[in-house]
Symmetry: C2
Subunit: 168 residues, 2 copies
């Protein structure tokens, strides 16, 4: 199983691809942050994200996608902005007939760092260790890898971590 984790955003869009090995461990494949031109209109930035993410999917051929659920307490303006880049990401996954699973932020932190209230830095450090990387990936790429790792662990033990396909 090859998992594409995504951390959507219209300025920084993180992605990370891992494989779940039969041993239950994960193997790092690639990660990165898409950064559409800053001065560009929103429509242009979203088109750039759609194009680049399509290339990532075509090249790295994930078999499933994982994304963080939206946290409570987000304001409507931020939810709309997040929705824009998230919609483009979901459409790219759908175009490749990939199922998308979503996980609550606390579930991702618990799966990766053993603690649902772990800091971003703790998650980043654990992602680096689990992926066997010499240097920590950028924060958005690390967050994308974290949700991919969460899905790998959830797939190993579905009863322990609630996974659900994004339906609405």
């Amino acid at each position: 199983m090859r998992i594409l984790g995504i951390d959507p955003g219209t300025r920084y869009f993180g992605y990370g691809v891992i494989e779940r090995l039969a041993t239950g461990r994960v193997r790092y494949i690639e990660c990165g942050v898409l950064e559409p031109p800053r001065g560009a209109e929103l429509a242009e930035r979203l088109a750039e994200i759609a194009r680049s993410l399509g290339e990532v999917i075509a090249e790295l051929a994930p078999t499933v996608v994982a994304v963080e659920g939206v946290f409570h307490g987000i304001n409507p303006r931020s939810a709309l902005q997040l929705g824009h880049s998230r919609g483009v990401a979901l459409a790219a996954a759908g175009a490749a007939s990939l199922l998308v699973h979503e996980y609550a932020p606390a579930t991702v932190k618990k799966a990766v760092a053993g603690n649902g209230a772990a800091t971003k830095h703790q998650v980043q450090t654990m992602v680096r260790t689990l992926c066997g990387l010499k240097r920590a990936p950028k924060l958005d790429a690390s967050d994308a890898l974290a949700v991919a790792i969460c899905h790998a662990f959830a797939a190993r033990n579905l009863s322990a971590i609630a996974a659900r396909v994004v339906r609405r």
Copy 2:
């Protein structure tokens, strides 16, 4: 100038294309409602919208896109859902290098029906009249035509109706 108006949604996605004539009047070209399969996952529905809207743009060759701004008082969950389909629409516009203008709902109603507090039915009736249609279009298609007409009138008299390109 050929204007594509859109009324995004993940279940019903309205679009409407008109031309602004030199006389200042509008000429109806086409409208419709994209309805991705109900039972499909969100990612699949968004991919279907992206594909269909891309076809509409390729076939009808609009030169500009108009969309309603998001109204105040929307809740975060609804804003996220709207953002998903809106993001896909903006990406399709951006991929075709089309500028996207957005208008407040009250501005659209005022432009089309002469009253910022017009009912949906009043807007639908005026859209039908302005487009010279024998029957009223479906509500989502009518709303899409309404924002396209609003842009046509705004382009005629930019000082009267504030237009702004979607930047954030």
